[in-house]
Amino acid sequence: MTIEINFFILIALYVCGAVGALLFRKNDQIANWWSGIMAIIGSLWGIVFAINSFLHYSKNIFTYDYSVFPLLNLSFHIDQLSAFFIFIISLIALFCSIYGIDYVKHFYKKYDLGVLGFFYHLFIAGMLLVVSATNGLLFLIAWEIMAVSSYFLVVYDRENKNNVDAGFLYLIMTHVGTAFIVLAFLIMYVFAGSFDFTAIKAGLVSMPDFFKNTIFVLALIGFGTKAGIIPVHIWLPSAHPAAPSHISALMSGVMIKTGIYMMIRIFFDMFSSIPLWWGIVVLIVGATSALLGVLYALTEHDLKRLLAYHSIENIGIILLGLGSSLIFYSLGNLTLAIFSLAAALFHILNHAVFKALLFLSAGSVISQTHTRNIEKYGGLIKYMPLTAFFFLIGSVAISGLPPFNGFFSEWMTFQSLLQGIASTDIFIKLIFVLAAGSLALTGGLALVCFVKVFGATFLARPRSEIVKQAKESSILFSLSMGALATICLIFGIASGYFGILLTKISASLNIFQNATLFFNESINGSLITPNGSATVSAPLWFIVFALILILVIFWVKFLINKNQIIKIGATWDCGINLNERMEITATGFSRSIVTIFSHILRPSIQHEVEYNDSEMRFLHKSKIVRLEIHDVYQTYFYQPIHKLISILSSKAKSIQSGNINIYILYILITLIFILFLL
């Protein structure tokens, strides 16, 4: 009983925060501190709640059911998977809230802080409800709360017209996605006779294959829109940058994962048989999203848009784990299916942490420079050393380099793909080879991208005056970024422990109830594949690496030639005065990759030259070079749809004559039609 009350207290805390923020809206300061502190309390409560649930409950933590209307039950069910997501939401919300207290100060006197706090709390509460609701209608309501409140957060800085446009795009795309979801739930309702998840679970058993496949496709598109898979990703790179940075961190780190959560919930918890092609589709979608996401990120020079594209990439990596899990399940290899799902869950957790860290550090840079254009930065490491350090840790973690957390979830994903390659079926083997190749290439390109971002933002000389005015951000900024950076390292080093924990969580799902749980005894905290074919020990690697590093530094600095003199001089410049315009820019850095992948990215280059004397055409007065990336989805996917809808609408116009008699005739025909139908 107490655990239920704890859960309702958790929701109540956010509701309290939301209402309180509105009440205090007259005073910016009070509204801000109230919403910040309430959110901190709420997220701390959430973390304690989730950890407590893991420690004291085995599989199902609690079920609560209260009927409001015939179809709408207030039914919540917390199992291990939900508790895991509550943990992620609360963990990221905690640091975003701490950060937010300082970040929103520049909105004082400009916008209403109470409204911001209201939607912020509603947004987090919405996410918590999404991962705990077990009634279709209740879920849809929670889903809408989350979507709409995040829309208002995206357009919060409404004086910038781009933000309003981005918000509108987001609102449309998220509702297109919701339409697919609603359709999926309606089909389920037809067969189950109820919106309750347990009833649906029972109803799905007798469902014809055609409808199961339809539900799969609808759910993949619907939840995929929220998760940001390509090609329904277009809202993501415009909405995430528009929101205030701590909101972007929450959206990118946590909100898009709720799409993945529902995919897991439906595919793994509701269905009990899975055709092979589902997994293959998910795997292909994942491979494409990962590779294209990182390629588009490389072409960006807007700091936050770039990070948003990396979210698409990482969703792709998560889907690689999820897809292999589905395939292994259809092939009957439950142990590997559980392992692959654990890989996906681990990457969900890791991506939330390092993406939040990167967005918060990006926000810290933006709050000082007031621009998101990477080309305007440069040399910030001297002005903002702490932010630079934390951003570096985030970059290393997201690029999947040891000893940070990103590497270990990618390692698990790689191992599941390798097990898939070992399959005897040549077709499945080939799919897994391509997926592994895509993951390897994605890893490499992510590395390029983060060398580009870190180098162009923090290293070399300032490329504009605004950098020179930048100062290190406030203590609350550093505190939240530092904590997240530490967590990146801790989760990496504790990867062996997380491997076991997440295996337990995946094994607790309905689909795996007949699976025997494997546990290899972890040696020195190492991560182990189910058949013991591979192990990797993060703590040992870290200790050995640290020892070697200390030894090398000590030996080189203090043992060899102690009298060495270090002179500070200018960078060698071939004899001319080196200036900041000569150093490489972000665009220049990634230009060779863009050229190599020009078939996919379709770069275009335009020169506009103005001559001093238009007759002679010798001396340039000014020259503008425009480098653009062709948006393939816009031209080949969205514009045709847009055209089709306009054509259909104009066709529909011909039956609207404006004559009331005709409309009454329509009503009559419809009535007769319905009568016959019934």
């Binding site: 040399g379 050995v544 500070i568």
Partner: protein
């Protein structure tokens, strides 16, 4: 006893690596009808640079200052994680092939950042080129390893070498294909022809040298040494993972001695091939390199489908 072998393994890579750089240079010199410097010249160069004073750019940050240590430490821990002369030293904790690949990538990451840190135009484009090549090489690198991992049923490099089942006729073709794929990656990652010219400072062609242009003294020595280590690590990987002959399976001195001699022999052959390639071939145009790297990826993919 085991401790002694581990200590030997720890110092083996940094101790021997400059020798093989010298060997390649000597082979190239002979092929060009030159006398060439002594094979041990690389050691003398390192010692000389270690004792010199340093100049550090005023624009450089701590990334530039600390990168050489990180890069060097990365090659040492990678040297510990691969089977060099003995497979009985099963390192099941860091000896995973993905761990080695990504540990080496950590070094590349910091090297590229150090290249950008001084604000020199050379460093920037050097980093850009290096990262482009290493990103595209990643696919071939991992897949060529996956071929042997699939045959051996494990991704632990020591166990792969210990299984030693590659010499059966059934696996001859896949292994050869994977090795060719790996060899292309070796040339790319260690900055040899046709990817990069290790002997040039011509601004149009340099990749690795462009990144380290601003280094001097001890830090330059560390970077050069780390590059030699990386080269030797790739030689060992090529020699031992794909052709695990002669590796000590038991802990006695005779077997270890044989292991070391055989390794030297195999590495020497690889060096001869590299030297030959560098003498008879021109550097590729930068935008033709992806073709080569994709070839490496496809070769490994074919090898996998043959298993």
């Amino acid at each position: 006893m085991t401790m002694f072998f581990w200590a030997l393994q720890l110092i083996f890579v940094p101790l021997v690596s400059p020798f093989f750089i010298g060997v390649v240079r000597k082979i190239k010199a002979k092929l060009q009808n030159r006398q060439g410097a002594s094979i041990f010249q690389v050691y003398r160069d390192l010692w000389k640079m270690m004792r010199k004073d340093e100049v550090i750019s005023s624009d450089a940050s701590w990334v530039f200052r600390q990168a050489p240590f990180i890069i060097f430490a990365v090659t040492i821990i990678s040297g510990l994680s691969i089977p060099i002369f003995a497979s009985f030293l099963v390192n099941s904790l860091t000896g995973d092939l993905l761990m080695v690949v990504y540990t080496l990538a950590l070094g590349t990451f910091f090297l590229a950042l150090a290249g950008m840190d001084t604000g020199s135009a050379f460093g920037g484009f050097g980093s850009s080129r290096e990262m482009t090549i290493s990103a595209l090489a990643e696919g071939g690198f991992i897949l060529s390893f996956f071929v042997v991992a699939l045959i051996a049923g494990t991704t632990n490099l020591f166990t792969i070498v210990e299984t030693n089942i590659f010499l059966t006729a059934k696996f001859f073709l896949p292994i050869t294909l994977a090795f060719i794929g790996f060899f292309i990656v070796l040339l790319a990652e260690t900055g040899r022809f046709p990817f990069d010219n290790p002997a040039t400072h011509l601004e149009l062609t340099m990749v690795h040298e462009a990144m380290i242009l601003e280094y001097s003294g001890k830090r330059l020595a560390l970077i050069e040494w780390a590059a030699a280590n990386k080269f030797f690590i790739f030689l060992i990987l090529g020699a031992n993972i794909f052709f695990p002959v002669g590796i000590a399976q038991t802990a006695d001195f005779k077997a270890i001695f044989i292991g070391i001699v055989v390794l030297f022999f195999k590495a020497f052959i690889l060096c001869a091939i590299i030297g030959l390639i560098e003498s008879v071939m021109a550097k590729f145009r930068f935008f033709r390199l992806p073709d080569l790297l994709i070839t490496s990826f496809i070769l490994s993919a074919i090898a996998i489908s043959l298993i």
